[in-house]
């Protein structure tokens, strides 16, 4: 008997698998967007879907984001489950009117009679040397909009499981794909049965005792690396991967911080008005008596995403995280 060594799958391939499995399992699942057909999307996430399921199920649309999401609303009204691809983070902005005024609130406007099961896939974040408008972390806009679920995977397995869950959800989900992890690989084995994670649960990626790094999406691997590096300085860091920003898993996060007594929130998007402020407030409210230091944030700077040659200064990296960890040895009067 010969065993063929399995090539590990990338996150992009796991996403493709998730779309393919969802389409095969449910004929109402339709994929639409710019270049999703013959090309398979600019990141190849929809690769092969048009061929396998036909152009009616995987449709190249005219180049118009409001039109893509707006027609998806009508399709969902008629019983389909559209999965919409926005080509890049900043190109989703023309569709915000549809997202905020209709997608997020149609269930509410109609008193529950017209839920919209739409998945909006948005490749987001920096670190790939993209030119202007190709690196935004737009999650703060989405999480500020009630009615949307907002999820973001950090591992290949989660990319599969969370996307399946998003497509199965009867509510609209903004599915944020960390583009710099598209080509990342881990131990995910596409031959094994795949678990579909319910939306809304955070996971402890690395247990630790001295402080918690709370993070998600593209910053998860950075935090894991920081945690390894911190060992040398005697810090045993716990890393919590949120996976879902809305709903937010207060329980897992608070339990972790109560254990460690210290927390740093890490994300790429800007600090002011960013998710970190919300998370720090929630942690403080729940863990005040357990905290040995203020909850700190390590985030992108509060500026329009910088040009690629400068982005390394902007993105929260291991050193900046370690600096924050050092500041957790906080004493009153510090």
């Amino acid at each position: 008997m010969t065993t063929v060594a399995l090539k590990p799958a990338t996150m992009a391939q796991a996403l493709t698998r998730a779309l393919r499995d969802a389409m095969a399992a449910d004929p109402t699942v339709h994929v639409l967007g710019e270049d999703v057909g013959a090309l398979g999307g600019v990141f190849r996430v929809t690769d092969g879907l048009a061929k396998e399921f036909g152009e009616d199920r995987c449709t190249d649309t005219p180049l118009a984001e409001a039109g893509i999401l707006g027609t998806a609303v009508g399709m969902a009204m008629y019983g389909l489950r559209p999965v919409v691809e926005m080509q890049f983070d900043a190109f989703a902005y023309p569709a915000f009117e549809q997202l905020i005024s209709h997608v997020a609130r149609m269930r509410n406007r109609t008193r529950g009679r017209m839920p919209l099961p739409i998945t909006v896939r948005v490749p987001y974040g920096g670190g790939i040397g993209g030119v202007e408008h190709h690196s935004d972390s737009s999650e703060a806009y989405y999480i500020a909009t009630p009615g949307l679920h907002v999820v973001t995977p950090a591992t290949v397995a989660d990319a599969y499981g969370l996307l399946r869950a998003a497509i199965a959800s009867d509510d609209p989900v903004v599915f944020l794909e960390p583009k710099r992890l598209y080509w990342s690989k881990d131990s995910w084995n596409p031959q094994e049965p795949q678990s579909v994670e319910p939306i809304g649960r955070a996971v402890v990626r690395r247990p630790g005792r001295s402080a918690t790094l709370i993070t998600y999406g593209p910053s998860v691997p950075v935090c894991l690396e920081a945690a390894e590096a911190a060992r040398a300085e005697g810090w045993d860091l716990e890393v919590v991967d949120l996976r879902s920003l809305v709903p937010f898993d207060d329980e897992t996060v608070a339990a972790s911080v109560r254990r460690t007594g210290r927390a740093v929130v890490v994300h790429e998007s800007g600090s002011f008005g960013g998710p970190g402020g919300e998370i720090a407030a929630r942690v403080t409210e729940r863990c005040f008596h357990h905290l040995e230091a203020p909850v700190l944030r390590v985030a992108g700077f509060d500026l329009p995403y910088p040009p690629p040659m400068l982005e390394r200064h902007h993105l929260p990296g291991v050193d900046r995280i370690l600096d924050a960890v050092a500041r957790l040895q906080w004493e009153a009067g510090n």
């Binding site: 339709h30 009616d56 649309t61 005219p62 118009a64 409001a66 039109g67 999401l69 707006g70 027609t71 998806a72 609303v73 009508g74 399709m75 969902a76 009204m77 008629y78 019983g79 389909l80 559209p82 023309p94 009117e97 549809q98 005024s101 209709h102 149609m106 269930r107 509410n108 406007r109 109609t110 008193r111 529950g112 009679r113 017209m114 839920p115 009630p146 009615g147 679920h149 959800s169 009867d170 509510d171 809304g200 809305v246 709903p247 937010f248 898993d249 207060d250 329980e251």
Partner: protein, 377 residues
């Protein structure tokens, strides 16, 4: 040496022959809005249809008057009247089959009611007790849409989905002249034409977007002309002529149902009342202009025709009036009852399952309400 001389014997290859993708001529609207009433075509109009249109027009006018009165009594927060535009509203509702879908904007309560939605449920948005009072699936009427033109892509998506499923369903979407300037109008028309979606767009050109006249909205020869650029036919119709609007829409619906793709219809009409009860129309238009349009009243146009053809005896007239009065009295009575609202409903329809965060907030409100109750005892 000149540049041309330097290029010497160079002969550019001619570009490949250019062909228009579609012959634009059949797509162009007529020069004048199409009319039926008062023309030769009227003799062909189906008497039964004229009677139905008449009954709905009278009922619709009464509805507009009653709803406007309800704003004065504080029973409605706001009402954008469609007085003067009833022919468009009514034709839009009557032209559809039961399985078809209507996508109204905030001014189109009348079309919604003419489609069969309960008159009180159609007003919940404007009354303020819930955004959408009716079940969209029950009557195949999308929620009244306030952001301009955003309902148009929905209509396209729904029509497209229906066709993919093999259902011969048509979507009819209503939009104002101002709404045609929005980006969503363009995207919807373009998607509809590219997908050949079974959808009909009806622009009610009532002259104004709040205070801004059409001349400041567009430089196009007419709004119907915009269709040509997308590759769909544009039709221009007298929006106060109920028989004409119905005929043009019926043609467009038939074409759509048979796989002929979308149509853009511009109905030229006029908003007799102000934009809403909160608007002062004297600031931007002259009374004389309103008067000339009053003389082109949709109900009178139809009445004159029906009289000429002997289709409107005193009995019919009385029955129609009485039915309209009854509807108004019922509307008045039910709208004068205070709405009974459950504040806990606030949390019921945000997600299929409330998030833990919403559950916490729900508990807070419940505690507040209980404290209020105890305080009242």
């Amino acid at each position: 040496m000149t540049v041309m001389e330097q290029r010497g014997a160079y002969r550019p290859t001619p570009p490949p022959a250019w062909q228009p993708r579609t012959d634009p001529a059949p797509l162009l609207p007529d020069a004048e809005p199409y009319r039926v009433l008062g023309t030769e075509a009227a003799a062909q109009a189906d008497p039964e249809l004229l009677r139905r249109l008449y009954a709905q027009l009278v009922r619709g006018r009464r509805y507009n008057v009653q709803a406007t009165a309800l704003t004065k009594q504080g029973r409605l927060a706001v009402y954008p009247s469609s007085t003067g535009q009833e022919a468009c509203e009514v034709a839009a509702a009557l032209v559809l089959q039961e399985r078809d879908w209507l996508f109204p904007s905030y001014r189109d309560t009348l079309a919604v009611v003419a489609r069969g939605v309960d008159p009180v449920e159609a007003l919940t948005l404007l009354r303020g007790d819930w955004h959408t009072g009716y079940d969209p699936h029950e009557h195949r009427v999308a929620p009244l849409c306030t952001p301009l033109a955003t309902q148009l892509p929905h209509a396209v998506g729904l029509a497209h989905a229906a066709r993919l499923k093999g259902d011969d369903v048509v979507a009819l979407a209503l939009v104002g002249d101002g709404g045609t300037s929005e980006g969503d109008f363009h995207e919807a028309l373009n998607f509809a034409a590219v997908w050949q979606a079974p959808v009909v767009f009806l622009v009610q050109n009532n002259g104004f977007a709040i205070s801004v006249p059409l001349a400041k909205q567009t430089a196009a020869p007419s709004l119907a002309h915009k269709a040509v650029g997308y590759g769909m036919p544009g039709r221009l119709v007298d929006g106060n002529d109920a028989a004409a609007v119905h005929e043009v829409l019926a043609d467009a619906v038939r074409r759509a149902r048979e796989g002929g793709g979308p149509t853009l219809v511009e109905a030229v009409t006029y908003r007799i009342d102000a934009h809403t009860n909160a608007d002062d129309a004297t600031r931007y238009r002259a009374d004389a202009e309103v008067e000339t349009w009053r003389e082109h009243d949709p109900i009178e146009l139809l009445e004159r025709e029906m009289n000429a053809r002997g289709l409107l005896d005193e009995d019919t007239r009385r029955t129609v009036r009485e039915a309209a009065e009854e509807m108004a009295a019922d509307l008045r009575a039910r709208m004068n009852q205070d709405a009974v609202l459950d504040p806990m409903d606030l949390f019921s329809h945000v997600y299929a399952e409330p998030t833990p965060q919403l559950r916490e907030q729900q508990a807070l409100l419940r505690a507040e309400l209980e404290a209020e109750q105890e305080g009242a005892h």
